[in-house]
Amino acid sequence: MADNISIEEIIKPENLVYAKTGVMTDNITSYCPGCGHGTTHRIIAEIIEEMGIQSETIGVAPVGCSVLMYNFMDIDIQQAAHGRAPAVATAIKRLLPEKFVFTYQGDGDLAAIGTAETIHACNRGENILIVFINNGIYGMTGGQMAPTTLEGMKSSTSPYGRDVAMMGNPLKMTDIVATLPGTYYVTRQSVHKPGNVRKSKKAIRKALEYQKLNKGTCFIEIVSNCPSGWKMEPVESNEWMEKNMFPFYPLGDLKVPAE
């Protein structure tokens, strides 16, 4: 079939089908190339734009790579002490119940120093969304072993691999909170492939809609990569994640509301 349309004819404003959302700022993210943080930020921003809740959303970013989130998302963001994001989000949501409140935490934050805050916020059924980025490592501080590090996985503080006899077992936070009566919707997703990004986006949107209906805590784990911490190329780290992280942290819903 003859096809003589030039690229210039396609690249016109009226043909635009996808561009970065205006809820993301123009700042270049501080994340390493290929890091799932950037993708997750973007899909949260896209949902905020689609739902038209830019001025009604408050994010809480604690300590970790996500600490600079306020530079990249054009919404209200409150900083929290290490691990304390669910406690801060509890206060914000109780004082401003009409706002959409979410926390954005890594595994070194949520599953280590913030374990107590996370479990109690979920157990109280605080009406917030917790987004949990799990890459099995302390990314920001140099790739140290985290509670979520897999058995045998190498990190800068477990150079011969995590020895379970000495260092304990990896912690499945999402499975734990799914057993608590306060949680309403608990799911585990990823953002390494287009299909997974779309599924994660749907899950986050659902969670924010549940929040509007005052249903309780929604908890979304995003199994992600850490190319720098894992010492891998970005694409290689995604393949490694599929092969090693997903068998231990299987993707899918852990708790869905009864319709």
Partner: protein, 74 residues
């Protein structure tokens, strides 16, 4: 028969050359450039223009949101 044609525009200066879009593209449109941007990253660029269907997979998976996608029905 209508044929869908697409095109992408990469914000070269913001691209970090991670290559996630290269493997996400079902039509093998994108490659990492032999040239670098001012930060030294081999940025992504469309090389196989005619194969692009504007499916948005590359843009959806881009951690830095540097890809814009255009699509027309021919």
């Amino acid at each position: 028969m209508a044929k869908v044609r697409g095109a992408i525009v990469v914000d070269i200066e913001k691209c970090k050359g991670c290559g996630v879009c290269v493997v996400a593209c079902p039509a093998s449109v994108i490659e990492l450039s032999p040239n670098v941007n001012s930060k030294g990253y081999h940025y992504a660029e469309p090389v196989n223009h005619d194969a692009c269907t504007g499916c948005t997979n590359c843009a959806v998976v881009c951690p830095d949101g540097v890809i814009s996608v255009y699509r027309i029905k021919n």
